[in-house]
Amino acid sequence: MLYLYDGSLPVSNILKEWYEQEATSNYGAYIPFVGTVRSEDGIDGLSFDIYEPILNSWFDAWQEKAKTKGAVIKMAHSRGDVMLHESSYIAAVFSPKRRVALEFIDEFVEDFKASAPIWKYDLRDGERIYALDRSTAIKGSGILGVQK
């Protein structure tokens, strides 16, 4: 349950839709995380590129992990431009009891930041500038740079 949108996310609709999807699934906990673009360093917004084949396999591996705990993960992310005070990311975990969902949302979002193949750019004065200083090299990076 991975949903990609062009531009900003319709947050209220997504949260409501996910709630309704699982309303009778007998989950005791629904814990969403919503990421919103903040005004800082003079940016006008953010922009995103996504590489879907690897994002899908990364997400599927997490969904399998959640399944072993009786939980389900849902995620929505934006492609392209998202302006100030709009949202680009929602992750949510449903689980029978709260502890599993609380732990999963933390682990999932941290691994998302470190591993999901999504690239962020600052929008500033009409330019799209790669946010290298806020980005993380994927585990195992650098093998092509080793001199023989």
């Binding site: 590489y51 930041k113 195992g140 740079g145």
Partner: protein, 73 residues
């Protein structure tokens, strides 16, 4: 023929190369001045699976992807 694609912010068109393993790709890209800043922090995928070694053999039709540092959310 092996296709090499550069993802996200790496502004470089795809390459089609006759290579038989990733070591040969490393040598080619290390000689490419516009790639020098990227190689130290790029992850590598073969047919959309991340790899951690240069030794795996490649076959014609394989696709290699270079993934620079990420920041979703």
């Amino acid at each position: 023929m092996i296709k090499v694609e550069f993802l996200g912010p790496i502004q470089k068109p795809s390459l089609e190369l006759e290579i038989s393993n990733l070591n040969e790709l490393a040598i080619i890209l290390q000689e490419d001045a516009e790639m020098s800043e990227w190689l130290a922090n790029c992850a590598v995928a073969v047919n959309d699976t991340l790899v951690s070694s240069l030794e795996a053999p490649l076959k014609s039709g394989d696709k290699i992807s270079l993934l620079p540092p990420v920041c979703g959310g």
